[in-house]
Symmetry: D2
Subunit: 247 residues, 4 copies
């Protein structure tokens, strides 16, 4: 097996292993949501990512350790995160572990109302606040046509969705891939790329639990593209702490 | 007078000197435009900038050297650029001179259809192409609320305007200040900051000649703010070429 | 008095009010440090900033509320932060308050070993780790010659300093102003600009307590420039939460 | 075959096809250079890229159309560019064609003295000037450890090389991967990523014709990584020009 400059294994051929984390509360308590996602949002995402050839695992809030014990994280290259009504029930210990994993290279894809999750706020360092309103038309325009996350799309994706409006209180992204138009008159930066530590983070706006967005083929394609983009690469290993002079 | 580290004069107190460059053709040939800008777009902009306390000069395409001989550029801290139907009539020599001035520290504010000007394309290195359509409603949302160019504004500015839509083929900006919503369904990055060489460049979308945008107080305020932001600072003087070792 | 678009006061004329926060422990416990900064690092910085025309206040760790009660923060436009051996003694309550102030527009200048302060790590979202070693020669090269923070400098600043080396685990900055060379063979991104919320943050590397860097005129000039750059501007006021459609 | 949203072919499996463009003058006229690169710089690069599994073609200045007729460009996914003493002999027509290809998605890797090539200056919009001196020690530090271009490296690469020093007059890169330390006391941003149009551009500093850098395994690995990173993805196809309203 090929080795990195400092002796670690380099293996580029395998597809990333994905863990989909879903709060999984709305689907069990709200009849309308249950119709759209009868087995949970994670089940629809899992089907789409499995079809794309990834090895997929799901984890939910109410499992022990929220379904994210070390052995699951050890086998995760890219983590998806959907949460909404119970952000505060995620333990600080789990957030801390996920944070360290992301800085160590694990990819993270934060979906929709995950903008207010503990892990996203911790990584961004800002409030991640925004404006919102139910029942609108969204049009996600591609503003970085050559970006791998936009691969295979047309000019825009149109959805029936909850509105999120600017100002969105996040750091300026390293790359802006999508911008959304809403029928009610607002705009939103809706596909944002960040690098933090050795990890890559993608925030993708759509996915209100009362809408069908995760059944949409283009939305699924974006998430598939984002998994490939966010997958860790065994890059140079940073060295920290006290250090003798080279010269 | 205070000096820089390498002996140049440091003088921060004075307000920037502004030159407004206007193609000034539509206003003379189109009756409808003449009603909106009877003395030219530059005259309305000059009034707004004079009121803000700047020393203002105007220059137009059909003057000798397009109104931009060395003595004018020598007295210009920030240059505004409005052009549309006659981009090709601007001489390469003038473009080259303006390019060198910007890289040397002169601020440049490119307005509306100036996106296709020779000077903007030369500085961006891309086609600067976009989509467009007359007669729409534009809403420019502030996405960087703490940015000095957004100073004094509300959440958004609403205008009757020509539509410009994404994709906008420009480099990702150093800072994105405004994003526009259009009634016809499009979005656009409409306030973009770039640093090139020692100079700062701001692209600001509104200003179709058949609309009243430059009479709008918030549009005027943005341009005033942008002049202050783009004004040169006597920064460190770069040194190029062959160089002896320090150590 | 001039007003913003939504009725707040716009007052650009006044100089920013600065609060210098210093841990102030080394200077009291280490004889060698006491010789270099007999009245504390804050005293030397206060003199330099007062001379530049700012209204300056100092606050230290061992004062009640670490010297940062609301009335002090209310009167602070830009906060400087120097800490090293006692980062953990800063209360989470104070960190939370400073965090909110920065996102609300207060400027923050983080100095040297402040890279490991609670407030900087919270704003960055990363470990902020790095390599280090005492007793080296540092040369801070200007890489953004037109940037206002580089105003008045020559090509580089040379100092006797502690070494900090890459990798520096921080988000890619919005603007990179200085890069450091060290005699032992390392490099470091040593002047970094960030916007977070409505606030601006500048990290500036030099300032080991056993070296004379804050007595250096160019270092003082950088800090003066950074105060002007980081000072809040009464920008557009962001609106969050549930929102009725405009159209 | 899988299709994009607007019906184009999506084919992600194939390895990118590489064309190495080399001025190929020093190697024929300078005995010392001929010893290091007897069959030209392109031959050494071609061997390294062929070994990595890419389909590789070479083109040189003195061939008809500089070796870059349409049929060659049609079969190029990523173009490497090494030039130095004869930048001016590259025809504007070829530069124009390469420029359009890059904006249309072709990757471009600009090597060493290619910083002054017509194509790089046209894409950057700046002078691309810098400081230089022969015969120094360079240490390229990885500053983005998780970046795919740093894949497989250690902390730094050490080379005997020509010195390039800051200020480097280029736009702030979208991503900064390497920073160089030089024995003579200078620093340089030596691995820079840009997106322009639908294309990706990587500037990589090493490669003076009198040094052995392209024989170095880590340098070869960086260039292999960069080819993968710069390879085009059939992203969303931008639409420009007059456009009817959607709503």
């Amino acid at each position: 097996m090929e080795k990195t400059g400092d002796g670690r294994d380099l293996d580029l051929a395998e597809e990333p292993r994905v863990t989909i984390w879903n709060e999984y509360r709305h689907e069990k308590s709200d009849e309308q949501v249950a119709k759209i996602y009868p087995e949970g949002i994670h089940a629809v995402l899992a089907a789409a990512l499995t079809e794309a050839g990834f090895e997929v695992h799901a984890a939910t809030l109410d499992e022990p350790e929220h379904g994210l014990p070390d052995e699951v994280l050890d086998a995760t290259d890219v983590l998806l995160w959907w949460g909404h009504m119970a952000h505060d029930e995620v333990s600080d210990e789990t957030v801390e572990k996920v944070h360290q994993r992301v800085l160590g290279g694990m990819g993270l894809i934060v979906l929709h109302s995950g903008h207010f999750s503990k892990i996203f706020k911790k990584l961004m360092g800002t409030t991640c606040d925004l404006k919102w309103r139910h029942d609108d038309t969204e049009r996600l325009w591609v503003v970085a046509p050559g970006h791998p996350i936009a691969e295979g799309l047309g000019e825009y994706i149109e959805l029936e969705e909850e509105m999120y409006g600017e100002a969105f209180d996040v750091p300026q992204p390293d790359e802006l891939v999508f911008m959304s138009w809403f029928g009610g008159g607002e705009v939103f930066r809706s596909g944002l790329c960040y690098r933090r530590g050795q990890g890559r983070i993608f925030y993708f706006r759509p996915g209100h639990e009362e809408n069908y967005s995760y059944h949409n083929q283009d939305v699924q394609r974006v998430i598939q593209n984002a998994v490939r983009w966010a997958a860790p690469t065994p890059g140079a290993m940073p060295v920290y702490g006290h250090s003798e002079p080279i010269d």
